[in-house]
Symmetry: C2
Subunit: 356 residues, 2 copies
């Protein structure tokens, strides 16, 4: 079977890490024999914006519809305001394609550096299910009386029952599948956000009732952040709003060795539209073109893409290959105190993969 | 001089820790000789709510106006919904008394347990200035079409120029006074929150222009959370919205040894109304009445109250006394792997204080 992949390398280190992701995809396909990938590259991003005034082709969303999945490198450049570049590409695709789930594994691999004193790979292994198309990121609001003393800014978070139910339902399904505690942690802030999060908790309770075999806990986002440092081993699956998910997954990234390890999938579960896969890291313009970027997050990201596209195929070998490279310690980028180039890490992972 | 203090022990462990705070206040006053405290206790909280239907007296706000400061223990009990108890007391006082600054020191004391591998007391020493009366906590919003498929919840964050300016201005003033980097970190999320945080960044830039000698950096809240784990030593003063400040200060609490060490002041700088001082921890109903609560956060909190009331008085001896107790290791509560009772820790701190 041939999968049509739209590749948007984007800005900064996007190009460099994307090349390694593609390399691993092709290696995986060659090993399996019965699948292949057909890539179409789109030169969208901040450079494109500076030339055309748009972050992507005006028909971009239409064009992307024909693909099985989207692989995104990174978006952002100092020459374009962040909210312009991100709303014009990353957040636009998430919302237009109703990629309502942002799936983010937090797992410390053996050999990856953890900043916590008494925690190891056996302690840090959970998954965050982040709502991905509405909530705090709905983009509703305004600024009035600009530059006058009475100036105000308002930003409205919008949560719909339908979407919230689907996100929570997915969290419980993931908890069923994972072989850990079969537990879902509801990340809330209903003690202060008296409408949105009170509603959020209500839907959580309703959906939980459909899964009596899954245990639950509800914690405020401030407490969850603290518990990530104090007892990360207690988490299995967490479900969080768009903003809270954003914050706790960066924290999760720190626990698993930094943004060099954080992968994500933006999923439309019904496959009405293509899903999008991207490493959590940004475009890191300061190291652009230097071959210093750690491609592991991108490699992990293509593993997630494979899981989504192939469903029943076993892709664990990719994580195993990354782990072998980490433990060997020879092909590591500077963030891991190595001196290997981005493409050397990609090559090393492919070599290990072939040997598995 | 006599200071009139309104004491609201509140719920759970509130009583136990408040008693230790008062003990330290009295010890401090006895040492100084020229100041004293007059306490008036208010039995407000969840028990009061269950009896009267209100978290505080209906004239409570009027009554509190006559005091120099408010000392609060903790609020919250499983028998009352959190958003009811908190909006009825804690958040109400913050907003009614326009305590627009929430000041939270994050400092790892020698002898306190830090969860980070390679960081010590010299690395963890910064201050968070949190906006405290509006923003995400404005309480504006609603839930419509309840329990129907089209149900939605909205929650609107409201930021005013006047208040935002004052909060940021205070952050720069604190950075001037502190002897560290003379640096303010702006905690934002303007890449996604396209009105509120874009506005927030604009005001930050305006105020920064008044303090050319103070250096600045602007980071998104997700990145800041990560940096707290990766390079806490790089922070001096941070300024954050109500919600972001809430999250990062719990994270800060974890860095400094847990909620047993996190103190806060809710300040009305102009002293139009009394300011309120409270430990960051909650009511911890599970250990209520057991004498297990760590009173250090409360003791640190009264130190902050003294700083606010006395201005030019040197209160560093209180932190020194806490540090001595920590280093001695004899009078510590179970969260610090000790077996001392709450009041024994308070006694030990007072003893040390007298010896300084
Ligand atoms: C770049 C930014 C808008 C984005 C987000 O907040 O969603 C990023 O931080 C992420 O986590 O994917
Ligand atoms: C209890 C809660 C409403 C409160 C807050 O979010 O402000 C608390 O977490 C705090 O940090 O003081």
């Amino acid at each position: 079977k041939t999968f049509k992949i739209a590749v948007i390398p984007g800005d900064g280190i996007g190009n460099e890490v994307t090349a390694e992701g593609v390399k691993v995809l092709d290696t995986f396909a060659a090993i399996k024999g019965n699948i292949q990938f057909e890539y179409t590259y789109f030169p969208w991003g901040c450079e494109y914006y500076l030339k055309t005034g748009n972050m992507m082709d005006v028909n971009g969303i239409e064009v992307l519809k024909g693909f099985d999945a989207i692989l995104l490198g990174a978006v952002g450049d100092p020459s374009v305001a962040d909210h312009v570049s991100l709303h014009g590409l990353l957040l636009k695709i998430r919302q237009e394609f109703n990629q309502y789930i942002n799936l983010r594994p937090v797992k410390l691999l053996p050999g990856a550096p953890c900043p916590l004193k008494d925690k190891g790979p056996e302690d840090i292994d959970f998954v965050v299910i982040r709502e991905n198309v509405e909530g705090e990121y709905s983009g509703v609001g305004g600024i009035r009386f600009e530059n006058r003393p009475e100036e105000i800014a308002i930003q409205t978070a919008v949560f719909t029952r339908k979407n919230t139910e689907k996100v929570m339902d997915y969290a419980f399904k993931v908890a069923q599948k994972r072989n850990k505690f079969n537990k879902v942690t509801n990340v809330t802030k209903s003690n202060a956000l008296n409408y949105s999060m009170v509603f959020w908790d209500k839907i959580f309770k309703e959906i939980a009732a459909n899964y009596p075999e899954i245990s639950t806990e509800t914690n405020h986002v401030d407490a969850v952040s603290m518990y990530f440092l104090q007892r990360p081993e207690s988490f299995d699956v967490l479900v969080a709003s768009n903003l809270f998910g954003d914050i706790i997954t960066d924290l999760g990234a720190a626990l698993q060795g930094g943004l060099g390890f954080a992968a994500s999938g933006n999923l439309n579960l019904e496959k009405e539209f293509p899903s999008m896969f991207e490493p959590v890291h940004g475009s890191a313009p300061d190291i652009k073109g230097k071959g210093m970027a750690n491609p592991i997050a991108m490699v992990w990201t293509v593993k997630m893409m494979l899981d989504f596209l192939l469903e029943d195929e076993d892709t664990a070998a990719i994580i195993e290959a990354i782990t072998q490279v980490l433990l060997e310690g020879k092909s590591l980028t500077p963030d891991l105190k190595g001196s290997a180039k981005t493409h050397e890490v990609g090559d090393a992972i492919c070599e290990k993969l072939k040997g598995l």
